[in-house]
């Protein structure tokens, strides 16, 4: 299952965002941010203690089952008293959850996390981005490995000169996407696909901002 992968914002940034907010309510999310240990029950508890140490009054907290879900309003209603006492909402979900909550409450929202990418858990505590939703899928020519996402530069004609020992120039722990693609295509006897010159990409393949209206 794909997840929204998040990382906690630096304390200094959070402190700045909360500068003029004395009473806060904290939301966590029982789905993606629980999986990534960024917005589950434990992290919400830790946030509560951190904010208290900074002299904030925490009016309450809850871990919504799915912050981005349509049923979130039920959860909001259940805590309406404590929410109303707060001047700002500290939200430990992905940006989708933050926007969902913001659209339903007339309150200042403060994301406690940065949303990094849509990815999957590929090992315990390891999350990998597999798709950037570019709208121009090339997987059919790359053995099912996405260079738009997995190559740091998004190159579609093969590796750059920075690859070293099969790793990416920006991080020795990251595989070079084009080494992976080469190996995969070699395995399945389809190297000719890699030899085909790919014209420049359509960088407008994704309707930005994304919006699709099905006809009929």
């Amino acid at each position: 299952m794909i997840r929204s992968i998040t990382r906690k914002k630096p304390d200094e940034e959070l402190d700045r965002l909360l500068e003029n907010q004395d009473r806060v309510f904290i939301f966590g999310c029982g789905t993606c941010t629980t999986l990534t240990n960024t917005g589950g029950a434990e992290q919400v508890q830790a946030m509560q203690e951190y904010l208290a140490s900074k002299g904030k009054l925490v009016t309450g907290s809850t871990v919504l089952p799915v912050a981005c879900d349509n049923l979130t309003h039920e959860g909001l209603r259940a805590f309406s008293g404590q929410i109303n006492q707060a001047s700002a909402l500290v939200i430990m979900s992905c940006a989708f959850g933050v926007q969902n909550i913001a659209s339903q409450l007339q309150k200042m929202v403060i994301p406690a996390l940065d949303t990094l990418f849509i990815g999957k858990e590929t090992g315990v505590g390891q999350f990998n981005e597999v798709c950037t939703q570019c709208g121009t899928c090339v997987l059919g020519e790359t053995g099912g490995i996405c260079p738009v996402t997995a190559c740091h530069k998004g190159l579609i004609n093969g590796p750059c000169g920075g690859t070293n020992n099969g790793k990416c120039e920006i991080d020795k722990n990251k595989d070079c996407a084009w080494t992976l693609i080469y190996n995969r295509l070699a395995e399945i006897g389809q190297l000719d696909l890699m030899k085909r010159f790919q014209p420049p990409r359509n960088h407008q393949g994704e309707p930005s901002p994304g919006k699709i209206l099905l006809e009929g």
């Binding site: 530069k153 998004g154 004609n157 590796p159 750059c160 000169g161 690859t163 080469y182 010159f197 420049p200």
Partner: protein, 295 residues
């Protein structure tokens, strides 16, 4: 008319290129000094484009200066900082001002440079940039629109013969040639036996190859490159040789090694020329050339 550099390539001359590094700032004195020193000694000077993703005086401006001072510039263009509109516009300008050689590069990641939070563009890759040059030469832009006045360039690209694994690099190399690259400059090659194998393969393509020679300045510098520079492997024997140099004599030793390599390349007719990278010590290029029997 073909560029002087292209004429040299086409005549089968053993071609020598070096580098000019634009400064970080507007003081062009040192660069002017290097241009003056080298312009009549080498066949062309590559002007680096925000080398290592460090913001500097633009390669286009520096290439223009080489031209104005009577040298032969090779404009390096990376795909890192400009989208296809800006790249094409720069090519139009370069041509119009008499800069007729271009080296098409993907470019290092911005993450490695001094503006780490910048947006890396990579709208095109190096092979697509070569193809774009060829299209502009036919009087059309990349979108297929007619140009009022076309360009003409001697276009090149790079290859890393010591990359690991090499096969994906070779596929990209072939694509660059297919896209229209006329010359190839290589990343530094120290292991000439390995390079000979590469050249045996490269000779089947209609492209001139210039071997990259990076001056070794000390044993620690050689070890640093092995550890940190992708696709560069300095053999242990060279590191030992550098370490054996008497105190203060390391650079002399480095020049000697580079000279020896150039001599072997010339004597064994391994490739079509050399691209000498003295990385900040451009004033030593004539010494390297002399050591290699080129002056």
């Amino acid at each position: 008319m073909a560029s002087k550099f292209k004429q040299a390539l086409d005549q089968g001359k053993f071609v020598v290129t070096s580098e000019v590094a634009p400064p970080k700032g507007v003081n062009l004195e040192k660069m002017a000094h290097h241009i003056e020193l080298l312009k009549d000694k080498v066949d062309a000077m590559n002007v680096t484009d925000h080398q290592s993703s460090v913001m500097r005086f633009p390669s286009l401006g520096a290439a223009l200066m080489v031209k104005e001072m009577g040298g032969e510039p090779i404009l390096q263009m990376t795909c890192r900082d400009r989208n296809r509109l800006a790249l094409q516009a720069d090519l139009l300008f370069a041509h119009q001002r008499g800069i007729n050689n271009v080296l098409c590069l993907t470019g290092d990641s911005v993450v490695l440079g001094d503006h780490k939070t910048a947006k890396g563009v990579f709208d095109l890759d190096s092979s697509q940039l070569v193809a774009a040059v060829r299209k502009l030469e036919k009087g059309k832009d990349m979108a297929g629109n007619e140009l009022d006045g076309a360009v003409s360039f001697c276009a090149g690209a790079i290859v890393t013969p010591e990359a690991n694994p090499i096969q994906p690099q070779l596929i990209k190399f072939e694509k660059k040639i297919e896209a229209g690259a006329e010359f190839i400059q290589t990343q530094a090659v120290y292991d000439l036996e390995n390079f000979k194998n590469f050249m045996e393969y490269a000779r089947q393509f209609p492209v001139k190859v210039l071997a990259g020679i990076i001056l070794l300045t000390s044993a620690p510098m050689a070890r640093f490159m092995n550890k940190n520079v992708a696709g560069v492997t300095v053999p242990q024997e060279f590191i030992d040789e550098m370490a054996s140099a008497p105190k203060g004599g390391a650079i002399k030793k480095g020049i000697e090694i580079a000279g020896r390599q150039i001599k072997q390349i010339v004597e064994e007719n391994i490739c079509d020329g050399v691209h000498i990278m003295a990385i900040g010590k451009e004033e030593l290029v004539p010494d390297i050339m002399a050591a290699g029997g080129l002056l």
